[in-house]
Symmetry: C2
Subunit: 316 residues, 2 copies
């Protein structure tokens, strides 16, 4: 059988025809055009899916199911998208509307969560049963796979691991709380730490590389400065890695997974990030005499969303 | 069938013969005598079990299995108790030694975790499939039940929820980290907050009730002062409830359980605690438009450990 994986984002729709091993046979994309309302978006998504199937040459009867990763939450009790900020959606019966145009089973999951499922089936941790996937991007998202299945929590809200509170009373978060992990471990957080370093040390390499312009500071720029041996950048990165490890410690102590996969923009730093985490984390976890989750980097990149969504059907 | 539940603590061994509904038919106890070494303790535990079975009148062939809750971690990969601080145990093959004396299947779990399993089967949340049990005692422990089964994590370390970090850089914890939840939500924490209140307001009701003696401040004393309308005590309690809710928020955002059960000494405060949590928590959780875990109080009290341990066998 083959599976359709759809990565639905605020700017683009990506559709892939995926085989049982998680290989993408064909991929199409189109702009989302959120301003047109959910019916137009879902119609385009269905049309793009039919096109992808046709172009792939896979007969319709060989398509098992359609999986969709959305940038929000799916209410599994009511079978509805209750709200989706990036898409301006409110109470959208996504599954029913898709099935009106294509008569196949449709599964929906959170985009970061399905990306984690993708890594489990086809990426760096193929075959691992219990994993936590952490995306270190603009925010921090995550997906938990337990016994090979996507863990969605009881109400479908789990697993918003970016909103674990790690510094009660700390940085304000968009969710209304203070001190959420994503305020300290996202790319946004590393940029903030880089800018703070630049302000207090106007002669540091970060300031030089950014030409004194705070808006030019990116996570990659800070990490490049670390690679070049700049001590001020190294201190900012060390602070970032500490907070990253605080959240990883909570994940190890509370979920005790076999593997934790780091993905998203910051994971692009590669070995330098992995080395820093593996130096700091062992001293922080609760049971220092017991084995604990291996930390690895994601390998599927932007395709994880399509592959993971496709595998929502396979994992049922 | 009937089940043996053993609650093994640093001071006492409690053995119960439990039926399929989680009712204790007969209960025996003996001092642990940890200083005698693990072999003597396990031998006593086996003898107490045989006595309990005999006194209960249940024929041996009707005993399905033996479950043991230990104040530590069980290494499910190596089938061994790697260490147990309160018992001074190190690399103890508990299951094998018990089975040398009684030829029945033996299951082992963390004491707080099995207490959570007990509440799920026989206590306040009978029949609930996805729950988190939180003990608010000297420390903070917990148990997670997913789909009716005790969740132990991949290596058997999960779920040390008392060591989720909620205030990175905050209070020192015995585990070596700073800011673990148990430093802010245990009875010990409420006592600390009460003592601090007493120091800064020597005329408050806490000081009066404790007769100016800091060592007389207990969690119950602080809560009694709150009940009597003392504003300084109310402020200390409010601070405690805030930190309790910080950890509960992380549990809701990361585990998304159906129900969270509060047990342990502080839960003895009852409705006043529940009301305070239910006032603060809804504004803190991530998805304010979605249903989230109902917060309830544990009802089994000290028997939860025996009942939950007994049900380890039933839940397999």
């Amino acid at each position: 059988m083959k599976y359709i994986g759809i990565d639905l984002g605020g700017t683009g729709i990506k559709v892939g025809v995926v085989d049982e091993d998680g290989t993408i046979l064909l991929k199409l994309s189109a702009p989302t055009g959120v301003e047109r309302g959910h019916e137009a978006v879902i119609h385009d998504m269905a049309q793009l899916t039919l096109q992808a199937i046709e172009q792939s040459g896979v007969p319709m009867e060989e398509i098992d199911s359609i999986g969709i990763g959305i940038p929000g939450i799916y209410d599994i009790q009511r079978n509805i998208v209750p709200f989706c900020t990036n898409l301006f959606w409110h109470e959208v019966p996504l599954v029913q509307l898709m099935q009106k145009e294509i008569d196949k089973p449709v599964y929906v999951g959170n985009d970061a969560s399905v990306a984690g499922l993708g890594e489990t089936f086809a990426g760096s941790i193929r075959g691992v049963k219990d994993s936590v996937f952490v995306t270190l991007g603009t925010g921090v998202g995550g997906g938990v796979v337990l016994d090979g299945k996507l863990f969605t929590g009881h109400y479908g809200v789990g697993t918003e691991i970016g909103h674990m509170i790690i510094v009660a009373g700390g940085e304000m978060c968009t969710c209304g709380n203070t001190g959420c992990w994503e305020r300290y471990a996202s790319a946004t957080a590393l940029i903030r730490m880089g800018v703070e370093a630049m302000r207090s040390h106007p002669d540091c390499l970060i300031a030089k590389e950014a030409e004194g312009d705070e808006s030019k500071v990116t996570g990659k720029l800070v990490i490049d400065c670390v690679r070049q041996g700049d001590k001020i950048a190294a201190r900012a990165f060390d602070q970032y890695v500490y907070y990253l490890c605080v959240g990883l410690t909570t994940l190890v102590n509370a979920y005790d997974p076999e593997v934790i996969v780091l993905g998203g923009g910051i994971a692009g730093a590669g070995q330098i990030l992995l080395d820093a985490v593996n130096e700091k984390l062992p001293g922080m976890i609760f049971c220092k005499k017991m084995p604990y989750a291996k930390i690895v980097l994601a390998t599927l990149g932007n395709d994880a969303g399509i592959i993971g969504a496709a595998l929502l059907g396979r994992a049922q």
